[in-house]
């Protein structure tokens, strides 16, 4: 639909490389198009953004969640543009939408600029200094404690957390034990004289990554155990090849 597929990876790798926030993504997309923000095709931009988001949801839901605020807003814009509103008073013209997006982007850009300006200023403790050896007067007697609001609410947070955590939930897991794997391997190689891939022993109905990993780990440990016993041979032709098993 869009010529984004080749670029998709670029954007993704950018976002992993300390690249933060859809603001930048949007601004970057806008800049890539070398389009004046005012003349920007919102529809295109929204589509690209949403496609990117879609891709990310499959890849990493946590990162995608961060991007949803802007995503939801853009999806809303897109729907406004594609489906003319039937109720008269609610309708929004595409110019108005352009204007809003432009405003939003400009405001974001402005905030990024001033945050840099702010940290370029002379700073206390770096460029100018406070009294190095303060004396404290009786007048500040009530300040003999230096508790801050932060201390107070942090403490409260901890109390609440603690109270909520009085019961610890231990989640059910279906981990594969080495004993189980030993039995599987032994009974299999009783009858088979072929080389078999270690991966063949992992039940393929395991969807959960953790379960798969535990199955793989216990089967590998079990096969080492059998090699030690002298009843099994292991072979891996090169570093990335599969591990093959053969009965001795």
């Amino acid at each position: 639909m869009l010529k984004l597929s080749s670029k998709k990876n670029d954007i993704l790798s950018l976002s992993l490389d300390g690249f933060e926030g859809p603001i930048d993504l949007l601004l970057n997309l806008a800049r890539d198009h070398k389009i004046d923000l005012t003349k920007l095709s919102i529809l295109k931009l929204a589509e690209q953004y949403l496609e990117f988001l879609d891709h990310f949801i499959k890849k990493d839901i946590d990162i995608a969640a961060e991007y949803l605020v802007m995503g939801a807003w853009l999806a809303f814009l897109k729907s406004k543009l594609l489906l003319p509103d039937e109720t008269e008073d609610m309708s929004v013209t595409s110019e108005e939408i352009s204007e809003l997006l432009e405003f939003k982007l400009k405001r974001l850009e402005g905030m990024q600029k001033v945050s840099k300006l702010l940290f370029k200023r002379y700073k206390l403790g770096t460029h100018f200094f406070k009294r190095g050896n303060p004396e404290i007067f009786g007048i500040y007697k009530k300040n003999q404690y230096n508790s801050s609001l932060y201390d107070l609410i942090k403490t409260y947070g901890q109390i609440i957390t603690f109270n909520n955590n009085k019961s610890i939930t231990i989640a059910d897991t279906q981990l594969y034990s080495v004993e189980y794997a030993l039995n599987t391997l032994k009974s299999f190689f009783k009858h088979s004289k072929d080389w078999r891939d270690l991966l063949d022993f992992i039940p393929n109905n395991l969807i959960n990554k953790l379960e798969r990993k535990s199955a793989l780990a216990s089967h590998f440990v079990a096969s080492l155990e059998l090699v030690k016993e002298g009843s099994l041979q292991l072979r891996q032709d090169s570093f990335n090849d599969n591990v093959l098993l053969h009965s001795k």
């Binding site: 809003l100 974001l108 402005g110 300006l117 770096t126």
Partner: protein, 198 residues
């Protein structure tokens, strides 16, 4: 003769009070609120006169009197900053999320969490406000009277002190932003139903 003495007493009293104010501000490492000083001096006119005297007195010194909102602090003069390579505390750099959030709070305050998210277009990750709170650069403002009564956030005097600002009107570039309407709070993006949930 009596008059003369009274005058003299008055003057002596004023000088003493000025010394007291000077010592109070000088001895503290954090800015001292006007109200704290007023507790000592009682008379507003006298205190104002003292403060303006002190400001003048230190204008061309290595130490200047800084007015931060309604608090007062002595700080080394910016003229000599390059000559003072003393043990500087090199602050751990803040994450970009935190610096942007700080700027948004500073320029839009008081502002709710969802308004911040609206501006950044990203949900605030855990720990961002936490860092700013710990630095004591932000504090809770009032609660909005919109549904859900969301809490607002604003910057503190310690924030102003750190960045050498007199007050928030002094923020860099704030006039330009204002003039171009970018700080217009009424320009809330339409249909943001989620706006006011906390």
């Amino acid at each position: 003769m009596k008059n003369f003495k009274e005058n003299n007493d008055k003057n002596y009293d004023f000088v003493l009070k000025q010394k007291v104010v000077e010592a109070l501000i000088f001895s503290s490492s954090d800015p001292v609120p006007y109200n704290e000083l007023l507790k000592r001096i009682i008379d507003k006119n006298i205190l104002n006169k003292i403060l303006s005297n002190l400001e003048k007195k230190y204008l061309s010194s290595g130490i200047n009197l800084y007015v931060i909102n309604d608090t007062y602090a002595f700080r080394t003069s910016l003229d000599v900053s390059e000559f003072l390579n003393i043990e500087k505390i090199v602050p751990k750099p803040l994450s970009r999320a935190a610096t942007e959030t700080l700027a948004i709070i500073a320029y839009h305050q008081p502002i709710t969490r969802s308004e911040i998210e609206n501006i950044r277009g990203v949900s605030l990750s855990r720990g961002t406000l936490d860092v700013l709170l710990e630095l004591q650069w932000i504090q809770p403002g009032y609660r909005k009277s919109t549904p859900g009564n969301p809490l607002t956030w604003k910057t503190t005097n310690l924030f102003l002190d750190y960045f050498n600002l007199k007050n928030i009107r002094d923020l860099p570039g704030i006039e330009d932003l204002k003039n171009s309407g970018l700080l217009d709070k009424n320009k809330v993006i339409f249909n943001d139903q989620s706006e006011d949930e906390i």
